[in-house]
């Protein structure tokens, strides 16, 4: 699941020159770490919805926690996916 989420991030966000092994599953996804921004968060939200049928609220504090790292996102997707 971790690698699947990494691949989804790389493909969805056009992260050229980034390989799965370059992404630390526990590092922050946004600002620090991978350096993604708010538009990337929205883009990932759409991708997660299309791929796994998960709907995330863009405002909630909970969503922020799930988006903290690849690992937290993978855990959340594994628990909540409907496809």
């Amino acid at each position: 699941m971790i690698d699947e989420i990494k691949t989804l991030i790389i493909e969805t966000l056009n992260l050229e020159d980034v390989a799965i092994s370059d992404i630390d599953a526990d590092a922050p996804l946004f600002v620090e770490g991978l350096g993604l921004d708010s538009i990337d968060a929205l883009e990932l939200g759409v991708a997660l919805n299309k791929r796994y049928g998960i709907t995330l609220s863009s405002e909630s504090e909970e969503t922020r926690r799930h988006f903290a790292s690849v690992r937290s996102l993978a855990d959340y997707v594994a628990a909540r996916r409907v496809r």
Binding site: V18, I39, E43, V46
Partner: protein, 249 residues
């Protein structure tokens, strides 16, 4: 009518597939070669990858021209002139909306006409002003006019960037289609090399202005500037760009 200010094009840069060096463009301007029918996307190595990933092929061509060392960009105002901009984004968004009902926030955020120079200025952390123009067949006239306004405002140098690309198939039946993706940048300053001339106020329209048909593309402007054989380039039914003789009074 008060005469319009004269001006110069001080520096230039250009990018198209297989046309990455100045000599390629000079040969093209002399009509020795035509733009190659070749698929290539500009590398834009000068831009951080996290920003570069947001650009499409047209944006990359424009960014490559803006980053070109020959242009020596120094935080001048930028005027982007493109008939369609990155219209492939609009096609992607419209088709996604029609088929899935969900659109990409990333595509949407970049689907404005000034997004390309915006990305460039974010990367440079510059607050220079940007104007983005679209026009059917008066792009060169619109851009030069806008640059003259900026120069009259007291700015000493303006960057004009022209870019367009082949249209998505969706739109091709309706309008002129550029055969190749291209971008060129011109640094325009006050000077004594060119002026805009109006056919109504000038007693004798030049032969060149009469004989050369107006183009749907901005490329003839670059050719006119690089290849100094012609003395005038028609920019609309009424206006032309005139090259001034060296040392004219």
């Amino acid at each position: 009518m008060a005469s319009l200010p004269e001006f110069s094009f001080r520096r230039w840069s250009a990018w198209a597939p297989a046309m990455s060096v100045a000599d390629n463009w000079l040969a093209w301007a002399r009509c020795e070669t035509s733009l190659p029918d070749h698929e290539e996307t500009a590398a834009v190595r000068a831009m951080p990858p996290l920003l570069r990933r947001r650009s499409h092929p047209l944006g990359r061509a424009a960014l490559e021209a803006l980053y070109a060392p020959e242009l020596a960009y120094a935080d001048q105002p930028i005027i982007l002139c493109s008939r369609h901009g990155e219209i492939d984004r609009s096609a992607i968004l419209l088709q996604a909306l029609a088929t899935e009902g969900k659109v990409s926030p990333q595509e949407f955020s970049m689907s404005v006409h000034n997004a390309i120079p915006g990305l460039f200025l974010i990367a440079r952390q510059s607050r220079s002003p940007v104007i983005a123009l679209a026009s059917e067949n008066r792009l060169a006239l619109s851009g030069i006019t806008e640059a003259l306004v900026r120069l009259a405002d007291g700015v000493s140098s303006v960057i004009l960037i022209f870019c367009d690309a082949p249209l998505p198939m969706l739109f091709r039946p309706f309008v002129y289609n550029e055969p190749t993706c291209f971008a060129f940048a011109l640094e325009m300053t006050a000077g004594r090399d060119y002026r805009l001339a109006c056919n109504d106020t000038d007693t004798a329209p030049s032969q060149e202005a009469d004989s050369a048909p107006m183009s749907d593309s901005a490329l003839p402007l670059l050719r006119f500037i690089l290849d100094e054989r012609e003395s005038a380039l028609p920019l609309s039914a009424d206006w032309r760009l005139s090259r001034l003789e060296a040392g004219h009074a």
